[in-house]
Symmetry: C2
Subunit: 84 residues, 2 copies
């Protein structure tokens, strides 16, 4: 049971932190040509729903992880719209 | 409680399906210049961990959603490596 939770934390860490190198790359290069606007529009909305779900359901790990991902995804979405 | 679950399902739907327009765009255009290799390497690994977590913990919605996201993310990662 403990090792299943460990896999869950590892999974949450990976899928959350993965958006950091993308955000850094996008901010630095402003190259958003290969990035899908529709993906980031839907994904950012999705992380906002996860954040609300985590807050309303008192699931703090879900809320915390998605607060981070929401900010990173919103940044990438902003650059995609700004430097289309 | 029911509406909290509804927000959760909506969140899962959005963050899962969002990778479909990105995968379609990447397959069609082969333009991966703005896409971060590091993001997709870490993210694909993360969805694999979520899939394993869902299967081991009998959390079928987690397993199903991440099986879909894993395939989509792996496709984008493949194109990023192939058409760098």
């Amino acid at each position: 049971m403990i090792y299943i939770n460990a896999i869950g934390y590892l999974a949450a860490f990976c899928t959350t932190i993965s958006f950091l190198p993308q955000a850094i790359k996008t901010i630095r290069t402003r190259d958003t040509s290969g990035i899908s606007l529709l993906m980031y529009a839907i994904f950012t909305l999705g992380t906002l729903f996860w954040l609300i779900y985590g807050l309303l359901g008192n699931q703090w790990p879900v809320a915390a992880a998605n607060a981070v991902t929401f900010v990173l995804a919103l940044t990438i979405l902003f650059y995609k719209i700004r430097y289309k």
